[in-house]
């Protein structure tokens, strides 16, 4: 064993415990754990770097102006050229609609759970169902919207139907993230506000939310990134189109995940290049949104300073 015993070689009598020799065993342990931690970190980073590297190297090929300017209308898999304009428009619109619906519902739910619900039966029930929703496979969310919105209510395939499916997936993640952030706000601040004669709702809006804002924004961005890559629920709700459809409320729409899925399934090299470029664009959009959101969160709290 490496944890060498200090006890076998006790310090000479009368001088008390030695100040130098005690640490050897602990030093070895310390180093071993350090190696483990760095090793685990490297292991976790390898797939990330590998994915980024592969996507960039393969995707850069077709990342040209055409890719952002044209759709696939009238092109088959063999043809060179074409682009993902229809898919980019579709994804941006669908995710925007998803966020507009999901974020308010989720943030308000989290506020209820943390600030008002306490340990009441309603709060516990909601919390339970949020957990259940977190576990819903994305294809099931798609099937649900397909069954309810398209088959029962009779609406047609549309970007909006896709957004509904994504909403189901986004709400629980944002609720959980926001809940955690609100719980981190020290109770001192709430009490300080109450003690000034500020009503509860104003305390929540002007003291608690701004304090938790940057964390909430991060949580929302993670959720956006997650739903932006969802493919299965979209296949069932937005259907396919190679043409540009800017109206998310009418007719099939494109989206980046379904675009990648479709192009990657085609054995032609032109298609495969387009699939990689699509993946790269998806990553870039998520990155830009993240940066933008952080910037906004920082500008919103000029006095924060940290």
């Amino acid at each position: 064993m490496t944890t060498v015993s200090v006890r076998k070689n006790p310090a000479p009598e009368g001088t008390g415990p030695s100040l130098t020799s005690v640490a050897t065993g602990r030093k070895v342990k310390d180093r071993a754990v350090q190696v483990l931690v760095y090793g685990a970190f490297a292991l976790a980073v390898i797939p990330l770097i590998s994915v980024l590297w592969t996507v960039v190297v393969n995707g850069i090929e077709r990342l040209d102006a055409d890719f952002f300017a044209f759709s696939m209308n009238g092109l088959s898999g063999m043809d060179a050229g074409g682009g993902a304009y229809h898919a980019i428009i579709g994804t941006l619109e669908q995710v925007a609609i998803t966020s507009v619906i999901a974020v308010p519902i989720a943030v308000l739910t989290a506020i209820y759970l943390v600030e008002y619900g306490g340990n009441s039966r309603l709060a516990r029930t909601i919390s339970f169902f949020v957990d259940v929703m977190t576990g819903i496979p994305s294809i099931v969310a798609g099937l649900f919207v397909l069954a309810l919105w398209l088959l029962t209510f009779g609406f047609e395939y549309s970007g909006f139907a896709g957004a509904l499916a994504l909403t189901i997936l986004m709400i629980p993640t944002v609720v959980r993230a926001t809940e955690e952030m609100l719980k981190l706000v020290p109770n001192d601040l709430r009490e300080a506000s109450y003690a000034l004669g500020v009503p509860r709702w104003r305390t929540v809006v002007f003291v608690v939310l701004p304090t938790a804002l940057s964390g909430i924004v991060t949580g929302v961005m993670l959720a956006v990134a997650r739903v932006m890559g969802e493919t299965a629920p979209l296949l069932l709700t937005i259907f396919f189109t190679k043409a540009i459809n800017t109206n998310p409320f009418e007719g099939p729409q494109g989206s980046l995940p379904t675009f990648i899925w479709e192009q990657a399934a085609d054995p032609n090299q032109n298609s495969i290049d387009r699939a990689w470029a699509g993946a790269l664009v998806l990553i870039l959009i998520i990155m830009l949104l993240n940066l933008g959101a952080r910037l906004i969160a920082r500008l919103w709290r000029p006095a924060g300073g940290h």
């Binding site: 306490g118 340990n119 020290p186 001192d188 601040l189 709430r190 009490e191 300080a192 506000s193 109450y194 003690a195 000034l196 004669g197 500020v198 009503p199 104003r202 305390t203 002007f206 003291v207 701004p210 304090t211 804002l213 709290r301 000029p302 006095a303 924060g304 300073g305 940290h306």
Partner: protein, 258 residues
């Protein structure tokens, strides 16, 4: 501005726990009343019943009467939010709002209650900061974050924030326990200055502090763990520290407690 507080037959509970039992006392306006006693004897709990902050904690409730001049704070039609505008509070740990500037911290109580006029706010912010002996130190950096000040300055900022809403009564829950002696002195000077305008109640573990700043002192004690806290006696500070009526008080202030 200051008002008299008359408490009669007050009990406070946390869920099933009886925290303080049957407290009655009168707190005089324009004076400083200190609460002393061992930890857990209910002095902070009692303080928090005086502006209905006690009930903010889930499961907490209060029985009894607290008259502010001629209004019962626990009357059926009384709004706790309105009570807290009249009875301000300063906490043990300085707790400025971290997302707000120094200016916004002081203006918070007013802004959150709908005062919007810039000129009026400027005026009250300056008045309050001057009232809290902080104006000279921060007047050039009002837009900087309040969290960037030192502990003692933060606590004075919290006092400025509390007096900005122009309360009648100011409750202080061990306001100096997290501060160094210099900052403590600054706060004590401030308390001496504020008492000409406010009714001040201060909880403190520091008996010298109670002796220095207060006009009247109340001693609280518990019979044992799990027992409710009780008021042992309240008297002029000079009497409590030189000639207390009760044996327990004498034991406590002379350090022969137990």
């Amino acid at each position: 501005m200051a008002k008299r507080i008359e408490v009669s037959g007050l009990h406070a509970y946390y869920g099933g726990v009886h925290a303080i039992e049957d407290i009655s006392m009168t707190i005089e306006p324009r004076s400083v009343t200190a609460f002393i006693g061992p930890s857990g004897c209910g002095k902070s709990t009692f303080l928090r019943t005086l502006n209905r902050m006690h009930e903010v904690i889930p499961g907490a409730r209060v029985e009894g009467k607290v008259m502010l001049d001629d209004e019962d704070l626990y009357g059926a039609s009384v709004d706790p939010v309105a009570v807290r505008r009249v009875v301000g509070m300063v906490f043990q740990r300085p707790n400025p709002f971290p997302t707000m500037s120094i200016y916004d911290n002081v203006a918070a109580g007013l802004k959150l209650n709908g005062v919007r006029k810039k000129a009026r706010l400027d005026e009250i912010v300056e008045e309050s900061l001057q009232g809290a002996n902080l104006w000279n130190e921060v007047k050039d950096r009002l837009s900087k974050p309040g969290a960037g000040l030192s502990g003692g300055q933060q606590q004075r900022l919290c006092i400025a924030r509390a007096i900005a809403v122009q309360p009648q009564v100011l409750l202080m829950d061990e306001p100096c326990s997290a501060l160094d002696p210099i900052s403590t002195l600054a706060i004590e000077d401030l308390i001496a200055k504020l008492k000409s305008q406010y009714t001040i109640v201060i909880v403190t573990h520091n008996m010298q502090q109670a002796a220095r700043v207060s006009d009247r002192t109340a001693f609280f004690n518990i019979a044992g763990t799990g027992q409710p806290g009780k008021l042992i006696e309240i008297d002029d500070t000079s009497n409590i520290f030189t000639n207390p009526e009760m044996k327990a008080t004498e034991d406590y202030i002379t350090g022969r407690f137990g």
